[in-house]
């Protein structure tokens, strides 16, 4: 049996060699084929595209765009879902459907900002630590990452956000600070093994610079796992952002934010259930969408024998 698995491994390599000879469009076609094999991935992709679309065009799509900001209409306060207000209105009469559409904007912005702040430094530090594995700089970087990993992300984000003044920007900073070490650890583990591959040795032998090796040889080969983690993290980042808002350390009123909306509506449960249930449902859709999408991307990059 041992020899058989070994044979399979060789075959996999042969397939890989063949693949690199194929044209680019064929390779993408193959990725797309692997992705769409799972119907759930397609559902996730569709949900995320829909959410991005809604967030981008919220001012034009929402029935009451003025309700996103400072707006009070006590005559319409606390109305149940109806034809005029699809998801009902909250305690000062703002349309919940419109506010959810604008709430997506903040959630997506938080996600984009946090991941663009934390992924790049995390990945670069991981590459450096993996390239110089066993040397002083690698030890320093990885122990620093360990310190940040030792504190749960939600707790770290909460404590940083609490020390700064509560605002949307500081919430993003706080979550980013909790996020980069996970990428450093991920890239470190892949790059320190890729570092000893023959093709990296060969590149060194022909005199490639260390930056060339890090970014052109090692990075492309760890891109699959990075991309999978980024997609799965999108949901987590939004969740942590909502948790920060829930306790009042995230976006401040009147910015429409799903976490804040759930927290404010919780006081009116269960009689006026629509105030917090619909925003909660919206956040579930976003997180679920990113998780399904992440699993699809994982299928794309994993060797497709399973």
């Amino acid at each position: 049996m041992g020899t058989l698995t070994h044979g399979l491994g060789c075959e996999g390599e042969a397939v890989n060699n063949l693949k690199s000879g194929r044209s680019l469009s064929e390779r993408y076609g193959r990725y797309w084929y692997k992705f769409r094999r799972n119907k759930l991935s397609i559902i996730g992709l569709a949900a995320i595209i829909a959410v991005i679309f809604i967030a981008l065009f919220a001012p034009w799509l929402s029935p009451y765009p003025s309700n996103a900001g400072l707006f009070v209409n006590f005559a319409a306060a606390g109305q149940a879902p109806s034809g005029t207000h699809v998801f009902g209105t909250e305690e000062i009469g703002r349309d919940i459907f419109s506010r959810i559409m604008f709430g997506f904007q903040y959630s997506l912005m938080l996600m984009v900002v946090v991941l663009s702040i934390s992924v790049a430094p995390g990945v670069i530090l991981g590459l450096i630590a993996g390239y110089y594995n066993g040397r002083g700089i690698s030890v320093v970087i990885m122990r620093l990452a360990d310190v940040f990993v030792a504190v749960p992300p939600l707790l770290l984000a909460l404590s940083v956000a609490s020390v700064l003044t509560p605002s949307a920007v500081n919430a993003m900073l706080a979550v980013s600070l909790a996020w980069w070490p996970w990428y450093t650890r991920l890239v470190y583990s892949s790059s320190s093994s890729i570092r000893n591959e023959d093709y990296v040795r060969a590149a060194e032998l022909v005199g490639a610079s260390r930056w060339h090796i890090m970014f052109k040889e090692i990075l492309p080969n760890s891109l699959g796992s990075i991309l999978t983690k980024v997609t799965l993290d999108c949901g987590w980042v939004i969740l942590i952002g909502a948790s920060l808002s829930y306790v009042g350390l995230g976006a401040q009123a009147p910015t429409p934010d799903l976490g804040t909306m759930i927290a404010e509506g919780a006081a009116y449960l269960p009689a006026q259930w629509w105030i917090s249930i619909f925003p909660a449902f919206a956040i579930v859709v976003v997180i679920l969408g990113f998780n399904l999408l992440g699993d699809g991307i994982n299928d794309m990059f994993s060797s497709g024998i399973s």
Partner: protein
């Protein structure tokens, strides 16, 4: 407070204080933070421990069944459950549980650790369930346990979903391994294969994530304790954060870090016990 000293000298004094029991004064309780930690930590430990037990008791069987019967209706059911568990924020789960099982049907109490009518047991460990058992007060034990169900379950749902998925994929992998095939061909009973030979190796990756999740629970408990009005360490930490009480915040982060380190050491021990390869490697001194 050594405010006129350089920052690293201040840090030295702080570290000295940590080891000599002087954790600084919490501004909003007006006493040594260490006393606060001693008072509030046990109830959070109790909550997290019960959540961890619920987690293990549900996630492992779910993952085992889903992996053993991969791609069946049961597997799909578990998959949908785990997606829901991952996607619903714990604070939403908590509120929904409160409304459905607490407010709506009065099956479970909504807030607190004990009913108004029940006297708290004398403090021995600070964990109400253990204290009441030690003093033979079974009424208080039942009441304390009853109050733990909803918050612990709200806390456990996310980790259950995650661990069930990891357990499932580990079981699927081990199901196709050579040793399982040889066990099947030798005609071992299905039960023995599943419970003895399939579960043990599959537990290794599950336990690793399990420990990480438990040590992160002190962060997740922040929202749960707020919602269930649980007089615990996380709610203490949240109050400290909302009032910018630095000494208390530092203590909360420190305790969380210690819990993480302890959980990781325990995992290494358990994985060493489960995985003979690691044990043997350690013995031969490689």
């Amino acid at each position: 407070m050594h405010l006129n000293d350089p920052i690293f000298v201040q840090y030295f004094y702080w570290v000295q204080g940590i080891f000599t029991g002087d954790w600084g004064i919490a501004l909003f309780t007006q006493r040594n933070v260490l006393l606060d930690v001693q008072e509030f930590l046990p109830s959070t430990v109790e909550l997290i421990a019960v959540a961890a037990i619920i987690d293990l008791l549900i996630a492992v069987p779910l993952g085992l069944v889903a992996g053993r019967y991969a791609n069946s209706a049961v597997d799909n059911g578990v998959r949908i459950l785990s997606y829901i568990g991952i996607a619903i924020p714990s604070f939403v789960v908590a509120v929904l549980l409160q409304i459905s099982l607490g407010y709506g049907t009065h099956l479970f109490p909504i807030i607190g650790r004990l009913s108004q009518t029940t006297a708290p047991p004398p403090t021995i460990t600070g964990l109400y369930t253990i204290d009441s058992l030690l003093t033979g007060n079974f009424g208080a034990f039942g009441d304390a346990l009853w109050h733990l169900v909803l918050p612990a379950f709200a806390l456990a749902l996310g980790p259950i979903a995650q661990e069930a998925r990891i357990m499932r994929s580990a079981v699927v992998e081990n199901l196709h391994s050579d040793y399982t095939l040889s066990e099947i061909s030798h005609g071992l009973p299905e039960r023995t294969i599943a419970l003895k030979y399939l579960m043990k190796p599959s537990l290794i990756p599950t336990i690793t994530i399990y420990a990480l999740d438990i040590s992160a629970q002190i962060g997740n408990a922040f929202l749960i304790e707020l919602i269930f009005n649980w007089p615990g360490f996380s709610r203490y930490g949240l109050n400290a954060m909302l009032s910018k009480d630095l000494n208390a915040i530092v203590a909360v982060v420190l305790v969380a870090g210690i819990m993480f380190a302890v959980a990781n050491i325990l995992v290494d021990l358990v994985v060493g016990y489960l995985d003979p390869r690691i044990r043997l490697r350690g013995r031969s001194g490689e």
